[in-house]
Symmetry: C2
């Protein structure tokens, strides 16, 4: 039916290709071969060619890839040619930081609303966007055709909120809460688990430390 499933590993690498191509574009690089790119990105040229060929033949034998063209093709693959209306739920520090991150708009993500339960935050203006009460969520989502909700609320509030959002027509959840949300299959969740990221760093540090130690390998004394 539709082309064979793209593996998750490939999808995870796409934004990175996009970033490197953007950097090349800024430096006015016109063409690049999979070999050159592979050296910059520290992956194999083979992997780059395999990955890209999941989506089509974007290169030319004997030439390589045109940077601008490939950049724009990947941008389409990533859906960055579309516009998304997004809201941020939870106007705490992280929510505010995300609201202030104007870079998202360049990529087509427009912050239409910010919500919180805290009366002290409601009414506050962040980059010109007023913080609203979460009571208004349902109506706001429907009236402003919101596609994506960013969740920066306390963990305990997340599950109920996620199912409400799904019911109200949200199609994507950018989840910053440390939980795995249960949502209907027409809703997509992308997680940012900061605490887990920090733990991975901690693991790697601890691991290196062990290798350095003269290593006391004996069990009990």
């Amino acid at each position: 039916m539709n082309k064979k499933e793209i593996s998750k590993a490939v999808i995870n690498r796409l934004p990175r290709y996009y970033r490197y191509l953007g950097d090349l574009l800024e430096k006015d690089v016109v063409r690049i071969s999979s070999k050159e790119l592979s050296e910059k990105m520290k992956v194999t040229a083979s992997q780059i060619r395999q990955d890209l060929n999941n989506f089509g033949g974007f290169g030319q034998q004997g030439y390589g890839y045109n940077v601008e063209y490939l950049y724009s093709e990947i941008s389409k693959i990533l859906g960055l040619d579309k516009k998304y209306n997004i809201i941020i739920i939870g106007a705490g520090n992280l929510g505010q930081a995300l609201a202030n991150y104007s870079d998202f708009e360049r990529r087509g993500f427009f912050v239409k609303g910010i919500f919180d339960v805290n009366p002290r935050l409601i009414g506050l203006s962040i980059r010109g966007i007023e913080v609203r009460s979460t009571d208004e969520l349902e109506q706001f989502i429907k009236e402003n055709s919101i596609d994506i909700a960013t969740l920066t609320v306390p963990k305990t509030k997340a599950p109920a909120l996620a199912s409400d959002l799904a019911r109200w027509g949200i199609k994507g959840i950018w989840n910053f809460t440390p939980t795995d949300l249960q949502v209907p299959k027409d809703v997509t969740v992308e997680n940012v688990h900061l605490a887990e990221s920090l733990m991975k760093l901690s693991y790697k540090l601890a691991e290196k430390n062990e290798l350095d130690q003269p290593e006391n390998n004996s069990e009990e004394e």
Copy 2:
């Protein structure tokens, strides 16, 4: 020499096990089998057993795993039994949000300093920690034996900063800038690429949309 290399896939899953076990612990669950846990986490029981056995036999035949014990073992594996001194470089919105995220302290990560180049931010106090000038970085790192630096600075500043930090003895970098940092191999980098995360969400949304469309498969008209 040392036990066989742990794969990256396993390490990435460890913090998630840790989170689920923490949740079970809060619910006063005493024991759990790989089967039960696998149903909660939506992975195979086999994978759980394989993953854990990379680090040792934490379970007991016929019984399963003691939640508290396993939790504490994983915590050690992740290096969460150690204390880390951390600084945040870049006191913008995201830096401030991270500084305010007190939860890190519970896991042994102590924010000792916050730094910025902006004179308007210097002197400001965040959770009782004064924002300092980046001029003081080298001295501060050495005097306070800082282990980890969190990078929430503009992309352009990141590469030079990373190599300075390595020189000054930082062992881990939690990198929020959209770049892959070049560091000596005794320094560990853990990336949080928010823009890339959002692009993955965007990809998944775009992909679903395509499947819904009646799919106009013809090339050009």
